[in-house]
């Protein structure tokens, strides 16, 4: 029999006992709904956790340092490693940026400096951050706004530093919004903060006395420490070459407009080195601030090097590959991906358990299919005999029962996916109402991806067909002579 005829006959047979078949189909629907609801919760929680972790920047970031850098990545390395160490300069940054899967490679610009606010001095670690940091978790609950552009003379201050600027005791405002910014710090926004910094100027520029950076001003009021620093940091003799790469340190001040207040440093990998003031990256690079690496590596203004690069990759799956490529380029690379892998393992196990519990209802529903089809054989015994007498083969009869089981599975699957989706939506809405009452931000705990929809439909169809195996075989084996005698 041709497939359209088979399906037409199956649909006709299902319509004949519409109530019983509808109830069986509803049973499958409930089974699939429980499976979809359970798995969508598991998937939703996994996505939520992954999203939060990704926003911390921990799992999609590779820290790059020189091989001979005495940091955590290369501590205790042999001298041999130092020999083939490459300088982490602008060329290296561009090279790393162009690696496949890399979103950006951002130099780590941070310095301890002095700030003045309201004519009072404050010491603070200043960090330059790229515009892409806007999506980081730390800036999620920013009070005020993020930088208007990457070259704006603006600052975002950390909450504790803001409290210090206003002369408040730390933690005074925590009762209203623990961990988050406080409305009482609002008056700081829009005010000016003066930053003191040391600019590195090539030695050749010194006689003019013009650093050549617009908007900056040297600080005549302060005792000038404009020391010419022919700093051949590697300790070689000052020859013609070293004179070319020499630079001087010129102190400057710069006014910054405070635009935002955040609770934490987005770079949570750092401990004591956490910054308290953030400035835009391009703006910071334009200032030519002297960095510790300048003193170590020497070099002129054109070939300055970085202490560390933060390399952001598109997907945490790419981290090992990117790390490998960076290693091959002659740098040290470090990431905390292992923690992410453990998380994935945990959620895989969680999904498995949720899936098993969800499938229990479907298993019960599959018994309903067996029952319905066995009943159908008894009721349609004579009809099966007629079909066989007219020339239906055993496989035709088998296919007919399979088609009926499959149709119940598909319709039940669609019904179940819809119900599961609605259950998930209701749970999500109810949870968010609760979170809202607790003054917590809304979250999405539930997700029904396409693979889950198609998987649930496929699973429902497979379970139905397996359930149809026994009834179909029994119907196919029916003796037509006995079936035709059946009253």
């Amino acid at each position: 029999m041709k497939t359209p005829d088979l399906l037409e006959l199956a649909a006709r047979n299902l319509r004949e006992s519409v109530l019983r078949n509808s109830l069986t189909t509803l049973g499958i629907g409930v089974g699939v709904a429980s499976l979809v609801a359970m798995l969508s919760l598991g998937v939703g929680l996994q996505q939520l956790a992954t999203r939060r972790l990704e926003r911390t920047g921990l799992f999609d970031t590779v820290m790059v340092t020189r091989r001979d850098f005495g940091g955590f990545a290369a501590r205790g390395r042999s001298a041999a490693a130092a020999d083939n160490s490459r300088t982490l300069d602008e060329n290296a940054r561009r090279e790393i940026s162009s690696l496949p899967g890399v979103l950006e490679a951002v130099p780590d610009l941070r310095m301890m400096t002095q700030m003045r606010f309201d004519d009072k001095p404050h010491r603070a670690m200043v960090a330059a951050i790229p515009m892409s940091a806007r999506d980081r978790e730390a800036f999620e609950n920013i009070q005020g706004s993020f930088f208007s552009s990457s070259s704006a003379a603006e600052a975002i201050v950390q909450k504790r530093f803001a409290e210090e600027l206003l002369g408040r005791a730390p933690g005074m405002d925590e009762t209203s919004n623990p961990g988050g910014p406080s409305p009482t710090l609002q008056p700081l926004l829009g005010k000016e903060l003066v930053m003191y910094y040391a600019e590195r100027v090539p030695a050749a520029n010194l006689p003019n006395g013009k650093p050549g950076i617009p908007g900056t001003s040297s600080t005549p009021s302060r005792p000038s420490k404009a020391t010419t620093a022919p700093a051949p940091a590697n300790g070689t003799e000052a020859g013609a070459d070293t004179m070319l790469s020499a630079f001087s340190v010129v102190p400057h001040t710069r006014s910054l407009r405070m635009v935002g207040i955040v609770a934490d440093d987005p770079d949570t990998l750092r401990g004591l080195g956490r910054a308290r003031v953030f400035i835009p990256l391009d703006f910071a690079q334009g200032l030519q601030i002297i960095l510790p690496s300048d003193l170590r590596d020497g070099g002129g203004i054109s070939d300055r090097s970085y202490t560390q690069l933060s390399v952001r990759v598109r997907n945490s799956r790419d981290v090992p590959r990117v790390e490998d490529s960076i290693h091959r380029m002659g740098f040290s690379a470090f990431s905390v991906l292992d923690a992410s892998r453990n998380l994935q393992r945990f959620f895989t196990v969680l999904d498995l358990f949720l899936g098993i519990f969800g499938s229990l209802a479907l298993a019960v529903a599959s018994l309903g299919i067996v029952n319905t089809l066995v009943m159908a054989i008894l009721e349609r015994r004579r009809e099966i005999g007629i079909l066989k007498a007219l020339g239906a083969s055993d496989s035709d009869v088998k296919k007919l029962f399979f088609a009926e089981a499959g149709a119940m599975g598909i319709v039940g699957g669609m019904l179940g996916v819809t119900m599961g989706w609605m259950i998930g939506k209701v749970i999500n809405a109810a949870t968010n109402i609760y979170l809202h009452r607790q003054n917590l931000p809304s979250e999405t705990f539930w997700s029904v991806p396409w693979w889950l929809v198609l998987g649930a439909l496929g699973f429902s169809l497979a379970v139905s067909l397996v359930s149809g195996l026994y009834p179909a075989a029994r119907a196919a084996k029916l003796d037509p002579v006995k079936a035709l005698r059946y009253e």
Partner: protein, 247 residues
């Protein structure tokens, strides 16, 4: 009426055919070593009392049942050699069966019942409509296409069953007590239709009945069965005044 033409197609030959059933410790010999031959286009009546083995023999020839021993050959092909799938194909294309109880599918309309063998034979949908109409025209029911069997009289239902048996143009028509559930007048009408199929379409007809009077006006040969055995095989010449009938 014109005489039936004998053909090569539709020949049946049974050789020492047996169908035995085991019931507890006893063996029931429903068909017990029957041998006979039927030429294509013949009209044969299988006569005998209830339990004589007529229907069991018909089921064996129809390929609905397999013999315990012996063989049935249709057009020189042994049914015993056919697989279950091939036997189904044989039933689909070579034989049409009419039952005493009509055996129509009650949830289907007249047209759908007649169309069923065409669906099984995978006939194109467009061609099906014409063939269903032709078959119902032949039995005089082309106006009742959309009716369900429950809305028809017994005679009409048997006509539908006959149309269904004819729709795939089989070479052999097997009729198992086709008039058993009908009054005598309607029974005669059905018998006329079956006779018409034999004469006009050249179909071999095997009619199972216990009423000799019903078979005699139509059949060319009478086979008498008793206790599963063939006890007599007599030609049935046309009666005076019925010239042209029989062989």
């Amino acid at each position: 009426m014109t005489a039936t033409t004998l053909t090569e197609s539709g020949t049946i030959r049974t050789r020492e055919i047996c169908r035995h059933y085991t019931m507890g410790t006893s063996i029931i010999r429903a068909v017990d070593g029957i041998s006979f031959s039927v030429q294509g286009g013949e009209f044969i009546a299988l006569l005998g009392s209830s339990g004589s083995g007529k229907s069991s023999l018909l089921n064996l020839i129809a390929g609905l049942d397999r013999p315990t021993a012996g063989d049935v050959q249709v057009d020189g092909r042994s049914l015993a050699d056919l697989s279950s799938e091939e036997l189904a194909r044989y039933r689909r294309h070579s034989v049409g069966i009419v039952f005493q109880a009509f055996n129509l599918v009650p949830s289907m309309t007249v047209a759908e019942n007649v169309e069923l063998p065409l669906r099984l034979a995978e006939t194109e949908r467009r061609e099906r409509t014409n063939r269903v109409r032709d078959a119902l025209d032949r039995v005089g029911l082309s106006q009742r296409l959309a009716h369900r069997p429950g809305e028809l009289s017994g005679g009409e239902q048997q006509r539908v069953a006959l149309a269904r048996a004819l729709v795939n143009s089989p070479r052999i028509l097997l009729a198992d007590e086709p008039t058993g559930n009908l009054d005598s007048h309607t029974g005669m009408e059905i018998m006329d239709l079956i006779r018409d199929c034999n004469r006009r379409l050249g179909m071999t007809v095997l009619l199972v009945t216990h009423e000799r009077a019903l078979a005699e006006p139509h059949a060319g040969r009478l086979l008498f069965l008793a206790d599963g055995k063939l006890v007599a095989d007599r030609p049935n010449p046309p009666r005076p005044g019925e010239s042209g009938e029989g062989q």
